[in-house]
């Protein structure tokens, strides 16, 4: 088996599910002949035809609305947002319609909304966002953010098979930068399970998405100094794998919460609350957040560089926390 990129892994996952299950289909802007702005759906229209690879007008709200309609009928639509930033235009359909159908009237809406999120490519304020918290905060949705090629494939397949609406944030910085040889056969990565990407004994770094790789870099750097980081990759933000998180913190007694998203109201807050509520007695130091600052994502390289959390930030904070 040849190694595939993160992006190819997502394509493979969708492709396999479309082969396996005739109710799976894709819709979005330019997903057909063009294969999508990032080429995630490349080749699909040739294989599966126009009925199952639907080019839409620029109507994010209607894309999600139509996906809901199809899902109510037992289909399994995958709606692409050309950039995750544009999911804002479908916010109402996602949070008020898709998220609440099952609770309100016991109607399942097994759909996936996916798109490229994240910065590091000089996309500026509207092509770099990390919109996960808007959906994490909405009961009824599941939210997924894979950090590796393996997880990207396994989670997209699991998302498609899930009975509930799943918002799947892929990280565009990782699209072509990661490569991995994947196992053959039909396998998934379960939604709701975190993954310890590196075991360690001193500090738990709890994170997800592209930041996982910074955490691993920091861990490698700190190993020389005798600071042993455990890197917990959430993979799924909702439902949250509380057990795995708490186990890790109970073991290390110290936690760094790391995300690329802005700070206030970010995932780190939720994690901090969970930890102080349920593992207070185990804590040997303050819980530290490393996040983007509370600003839009700026465009110019020195600004974006400043905005994004860096490996050096993790190293600095970990040293301080280790010394606490």
């Amino acid at each position: 088996m040849a190694a595939v990129t993160y992006l190819e892994a997502i394509r493979q996952g969708i492709w396999e599910e479309m082969e396996r299950d005739p109710t799976v289909f894709v819709l979005g802007e330019d997903v057909g002949r063009y294969g999508g702005a990032f080429k995630v759906t490349e080749g699909m229209i040739e294989r599966f035809g126009e009925d199952r690879v639907v080019d839409t007008p620029i109507s994010e709200s209607a894309i999600v609305g139509a996906a809901i309609g199809a899902a109510l009928m037992g289909m399994r639509p995958i709606a692409e947002m050309q950039f995750a930033d544009f999911i804002s235009c479908a916010f109402d359909q996602i949070t008020n319609f898709a998220a609440k159908c099952r609770y309100r009237w016991n109607a399942g809406v097994p759909l996936v909304i996916r798109g490229p999120s994240g910065g590091g490519v000089h996309g500026g304020p509207y092509h770099s966002q990390n919109p996960e918290m808007y959906y994490v905060h909405t009961p009824g949705l599941k939210v997924v953010a894979p950090s590796t090629v393996y997880d990207a494939k396994g989670l997209i397949k699991a998302a498609i098979r899930d009975e509930d609406p799943v918002v799947y944030f892929e990280h565009k910085f990782l699209y072509r930068r990661l490569k991995e040889t994947l196992p053959e056969g039909d396998w998934t990565v379960p939604i709701g399970k975190a993954d310890v990407k590196r075991a360690g004994s001193d500090i738990s770094v709890i994170t997800y998405g592209a930041m996982v790789h910074l955490a691993l870099e920091a861990a490698a750097a700190l190993a020389n100094e005798g600071i042993d980081l455990e890197v917990v990759d959430l993979r799924t933000l909702v439902p949250l794998d509380k057990e795995r998180i708490l186990d890790s913190v109970k073991k290390t007694s110290k936690a760094i919460l790391l995300h690329e998203d802005v700070r206030t109201g970010g995932m780190a807050g939720e994690l901090a609350a969970l930890i102080v509520e349920e593992a207070f007695e185990y804590l040997d130091g303050p819980i530290m957040r490393i996040t983007a600052p509370d600003t839009p994502v700026p465009y110019s390289p020195p600004l974006e560089e400043f905005f994004l959390p860096k490996t050096s930030d993790i190293i600095r904070v970990a040293r301080r926390l280790a010394a606490y």
């Binding site: 007008p57 709200s61 609305g65 139509a66 309609g69 199809a70 109510l72 009928m73 109607a107 009975e163």
Partner: protein, 339 residues
């Protein structure tokens, strides 16, 4: 479906049943404090839901809005379920989770309304696209008011349905007001139907208080949709013969307007024409009224004694694995004839 005597009688039944149920809710139960939350009724607009939904077949779908009680009844929601719904009982269609007109059940092809007006418009397009993908000759009827046509989702939904030639019929009740806002403050056109042309779809205006006209326009649109001809926008001119909701004293509408439209009452009109053409006798009309009263009395008696949901059910059903019972997707697989 033919617009024959039986159909006319069926429509009379559903229109009168609608009127009576809603009167009971608005003027009795609400005032008695038995209704949980707000009450919106479709008094004077009954011909629209009934004249259209009556023509649906087994696997068709409806996306009703907040003044389309008749459509629910035709799709098999029982009066007892309606009352239980409005009183927040466990036996309501949504088991107490949701309010009044927000009844949904995919087994009966009914999508639950979402308060955000026009949100069902693209959803209806998606259902219709599914019919097309599956090569099922089914249709969706999607209902909304004049006010809802101002929302972005309305536009996106009609446009998508049209580009996709999806088998959906969009039915607007133009009752001259959105809450207190008259048409001229909502749009700079006189007829909502002209908006069809913006999507390359037929836009027709009918007298929404004439059930036969509604029936015929919908029949044509449904037949075009089933044949793969794509969506139609039907505008039914009517008038909201109440306040926006039960608590609205509706001072902003001139009395004369109510008096004028009272004369155009769709039920009175159908009944009169059926009597004049001797399709029904006075006797039969009386019997029908009595039957409806009986049905409603019985339903209400049961519903009033129906239990409230158990508080712990609050936590159920946010996700599939928490659902007390099997999910109800696969709409049409489970569908069974309702009438």
């Amino acid at each position: 479906m033919e617009l024959n005597q039986q159909t006319l009688l069926d429509m009379l039944y559903y229109m009168k049943l609608t009127r009576e149920i809603e009167t009971r809710i608005e003027r009795k139960l609400y005032r008695q404090g038995k209704i949980v939350g707000g009450v919106y009724v479709g008094r004077g607009q009954e011909a629209i839901a009934v004249g259209s939904a009556i023509q649906l077949e087994k696997d068709d779908c409806i996306c009703p809005s907040h003044r389309d009680m008749g459509a629910f009844l035709i799709r098999g929601i029982t009066p007892r379920e309606v009352f239980a719904q409005y009183m927040g009982r466990k036996t309501g269609v949504t088991k107490g989770k949701e309010a009044n007109m927000h009844m949904g059940d995919m087994r009966r092809g009914i999508v639950a309304f979402v308060s955000m007006l026009a949100d069902t418009v693209p959803v209806a397009a998606g259902i219709a696209m599914t019919f097309k993908m599956r090569k099922q000759a089914n249709v969706v009827l999607c209902y909304f008011g004049d006010g809802a046509t101002s929302r972005g989702d309305w536009h996106e939904g009609l446009n998508l349905a049209s580009v996709q030639k999806a088998p959906v019929v969009y039915i607007c009740n133009n009752n001259c007001y959105a809450y207190s806002t008259p048409l001229e403050k909502q749009m700079a056109v006189k007829d909502v139907a002209v908006r069809g042309a913006a999507y390359g779809m037929p836009g027709v205006t009918v007298d929404g208080n004439d059930v036969a006209e509604v029936f015929r326009a919908t029949r044509e649109a449904i037949s075009m949709a089933r044949r793969g001809g794509g969506p139609t926008l039907i505008e039914c001119k009517t008038f909201r013969m109440t306040g926006h909701s039960a608590h609205d004293d509706v001072k902003y509408v001139e009395k004369e307007l109510f008096e004028e439209w009272e004369k155009k009452d769709p039920i009175l009109r159908l009944e009169t024409s059926l009597l004049e053409s001797k399709t029904v006798s006075q006797e039969a009309v009386k019997k029908l009224a009595a039957r409806i009263t009986r049905e409603i009395d019985e339903a209400l008696a049961i519903a009033e004694n129906d239990p409230f949901p158990d508080p712990a059910e609050t936590l159920d059903g946010v996700y599939a694995d928490q659902s007390a019972e099997a999910p109800l997707a696969f709409a049409n697989t489970f569908f069974s004839q309702v009438r």
